[in-house]
Amino acid sequence: MSEILKINDLTVNYQTKEGEFTALEKVSLKLEEGTCLGILGESGCGKTTLAMSVVKLLPYNAKIIRGQINYQGNNLLQMSEIKLHNLRGREIAYIFQDPVSALNPVMSIGAQIIETLVNLRHFSYKEAFGESIRLLNLVKVPDPLEHLRFYPHQLSGGLNQRVMIALALSTNAKVLIADEPTSNLDVTIEAAIIELLKDLQTKLGLSIIFISHDLSLIRFLSDNTAIMYKGKIIEFDRTHLIFNNPKQLYTKELLQATDLLSRI
Amino acid sequence: MIFKELKRNRLFSFGLAIVLAIGLCAIFAPLLTRYQPEAIDVNEILSSPSSKHILGTDSLGRDLFSRLLFGSRVSLKVGIIAVGISTLMGLILGAIAGFYGGWIDSLLMRFVDLMLCFPTYFLILSVIAILEPSLANIMIIIGLTSWMGVARIVRAQILSLKEREFIQAAKVIGASDLRIITLHLLPNAMGPVIVAAILGMAYAILVESSLSFLGLGVQPPTPSWGNILIDAKATLGVAWWLTLFPGLAIFITILGVNMLGEGLRNWEKQ
């Protein structure tokens, strides 16, 4: 399998009032085409920074100190803003943690999907309308025709996340980065969303970076897993190897802790 | 330590310096000038700034510099007393609304909405028309018509503090409402109130000078920055110093007070 995305030696610092601190330190990872890469870590360990740095959507006080991010052989960090712009969405799409805040509150669901289709993929409005219904069907939103007219605040969190996934798919991207896409949802809805992602991955041949603090989700979804701790990747391997035979102390502790919790 | 903080919060330091300077001018006004602010000199009518009259004279030959010095007394007095009244009112009404809630709260907040319906100056001018444009009346009326912001702030603060454990604890011990409000709630809500009070001072100074400029505020011959400018309007194009300096005095004072307030707000946020 070929590598679609390769991160090499990536270091990112944040400038704050108290001084500089390192959010990512010498991170190296690779994503193989058509697979799912899980990134596991506690909150605040730099998972989101990693996700955001892939297409340089970092907050303005963040600075990439060094490293490369290669997408199909091109280093994103040395790419011009225009080229980078063409990559965002068209090649790599995001799914955010909180679907309600990641959808524009003053635009209807349909307007947001159609906007993307018309502007990115140059559909006519009529084509875009049909395509948006197909997409909502694909992510299993009931009654797509009716839901197109709804605004985000009128839908449940689970439905909003499905819409968010539909929006990500509307860009026709090959790589999907999902940053804790289910942490704001109920457990039953979480399961359904994860099923959907798995389903889409095989159906559309997507490559996915799945970021989570939940071991069971990572175990279910990802082919490879990276364990992140304080801005560093401390272990990176096939998922079954990590879960059956953890090498690092931190990974072992993490697994034991979850084990304990599940037994209570 | 304090010096270092002052250097970091430049807004606050500049504001403080300006306000202190004006305060000192107001206090020591008689020592800073040779001229009586109300002394008319027919030989010196509308003379431009010179070594004799450093900021020139007005249409009655009165020394502009001393009129401005004594005018600062009016401005500061209005600022302090009007804000004292409005802050006190805002504190009391806001605390009652926030602490008791329920219908008392909705009634008082409706009253706040109501007071905000009147266009700026309309209520003040109506009352002045009926009473009398004296300094005391102006200070009271400005105070009575500008407490709404403070009331809202105090109410919001108290609403958020009320449920905290130390207040609940005080209630359990059996402390009286008055004691809880004055000893526990208000001191914890003071930060934003002080900022609002200082910014309110700028508003009061501005309103007084506008009223005096319209001839409905401080009455001549008592100098006020606003009523000095009446003369400026009459001599537009003849005596530039009469337009420039009094306005500059108002402008710099309000700027200083605003800087002080904003600087405090920056501190308060941390």
Binding site: V55, L57, H85, R88, G89, R90, A93, Y94, F96, S101, A102, L103, N104, P105, V106, M107, E115, N119, L120, Y151, H153, Q154, M164, L167, S170, T171 | R110, F111, L114, C117, F118, P119, T120, Y121, F122, L123, L125, S126, V127, A129, I130, E132, S210, F213, L214, G215, L216, Q219, L229, L236, G237, T243, G247, I250, F251, I254, L255, N258, M259, E262
Partner: protein
């Protein structure tokens, strides 16, 4: 939406009663005894005035009856006749209203087209040269007394340079001009007043706009829009600006009392025969009925302005539009 408007209208009723109550209270401050003559504003009419007020408002009757009568009169927009020339108060106000409304609308427009772009531009690059300059100017603008600004502009553009007329809204030869020149003449007279009246709110609006835009730009949905690869212009104008503009509607609504109140100042300075100047004249001549009429109407206008702002807000924000 209709339910929302209806509810808002119902909410106005207590405020209307309150406005009439406060103005009723103000009349009761009217002098009952002769006031000293130290103030030249004070005509020696106090006793006579009191007698007329008593007759007009029935001040000799019990307070409850007085208030009921007063309120019923207000509902009929009956403010009585001017003390000065015995003309109907409503009529006097009606003929002064259009010019004030025109100037206020023009200055709202000016605030909109200047304040908002400044705020947006500084928010897009916080800390840039433009942002620093505009932030400082806003700070200076807040401290600028509008009547002093009016004097400065008057002495510079009208007296020194003679580019613009000093005051009034028409030149002396207005009657002899052809229509296009008439319009031009009025426009030239309005430039300074409109600018001065807009100036006060300009600083505020651009500052709120900057703050609102900064918040929106760092929000998830703007980042999400960007991550979808939409063009920067689309992200800024279609996603960010649309959301940041919503709270500005409320701020514009809140600036109405300041605008109406400010018209007293600049209409007096520029000698514009509008409602603000009428108010000033009525205060100077102690024309109590006219003062009361203007006080009540001025606040009713504010109320209506706020109502329109609220409805506009609800209309552009689907979160309110589609809720009960």
């Amino acid at each position: 939406m209709i339910v929302y408007i209806f509810r808002r209208l119902c909410g106005l009723i207590p405020l209307l009663i309150g406005i009439s109550a406060i103005s009723f209270f103000v009349i009761h401050l009217a002098p009952g005894k002769p006031v000293g003559i130290q103030s030249d504003l004070n005509p020696k009419v106090s006793l006579e005035v009191r007698a007329r007020l008593e007759k007009l408002y029935g001040l000799d009757k019990p307070v409850a009856v007085q208030f009921k009568n007063w309120f019923l009169r207000l509902l009929r927009f009956d403010f009585g006749r001017s003390f000065l020339d015995d003309r109907l108060v409503t009529e006097k106000i009606k003929e002064r209203l259009p010019i004030t409304v025109l100037i206020n609308l023009l200055s709202l427009f000016l605030i909109f087209i200047i304040g908002i772009p400044i705020g947006v531009k500084s928010a897009l690059k916080p800390g840039s040269f433009f942002d620093k300059v505009s932030t400082s100017l806003v700070f200076l603008g807040f401290a600028m007394p509008s009547f002093w600004l009016a004097l400065l502009l008057m002495s510079f553009f009208a007296v020194t340079l003679r580019w613009l007329p000093v005051s009034g809204i028409k030149s002396i030869d207005f009657e002899f001009l052809t229509l296009p020149y008439k319009i031009l003449d009025v426009a030239r007279h309005l430039i300074l007043p409109v600018f001065v009246s807009a100036f006060g709110s300009l600083a505020g609006i651009s500052r709120y706009m900057r703050q609102g835009m900064l918040e929106v730009i760092n929000s998830d949905y703007v980042r999400a829009a960007r991550s979808r690869g939409l063009s920067e212009a689309r992200v800024i104008y279609n996603h960010a600006l649309r959301n940041a503009l919503i709270p500005i509607i409320t701020i514009l609504g809140l600036s109405i009392p300041g605008l109406i109140g400010g018209s007293v100042i600049f209409e007096t300075i520029f000698a514009i025969p509008g409602m603000g100047r009428l108010f000033f004249e009525s205060v100077m001549s102690r024309d109590y009925t006219l003062i009361m009429g203007l006080l009540v109407l001025g606040s009713v206008f504010t109320l209506l302005g706020n109502l329109i702002a609220d409805i506009a807000y609800a209309w552009v924000d689907p979160r309110i539009r589609y809720s009960r």
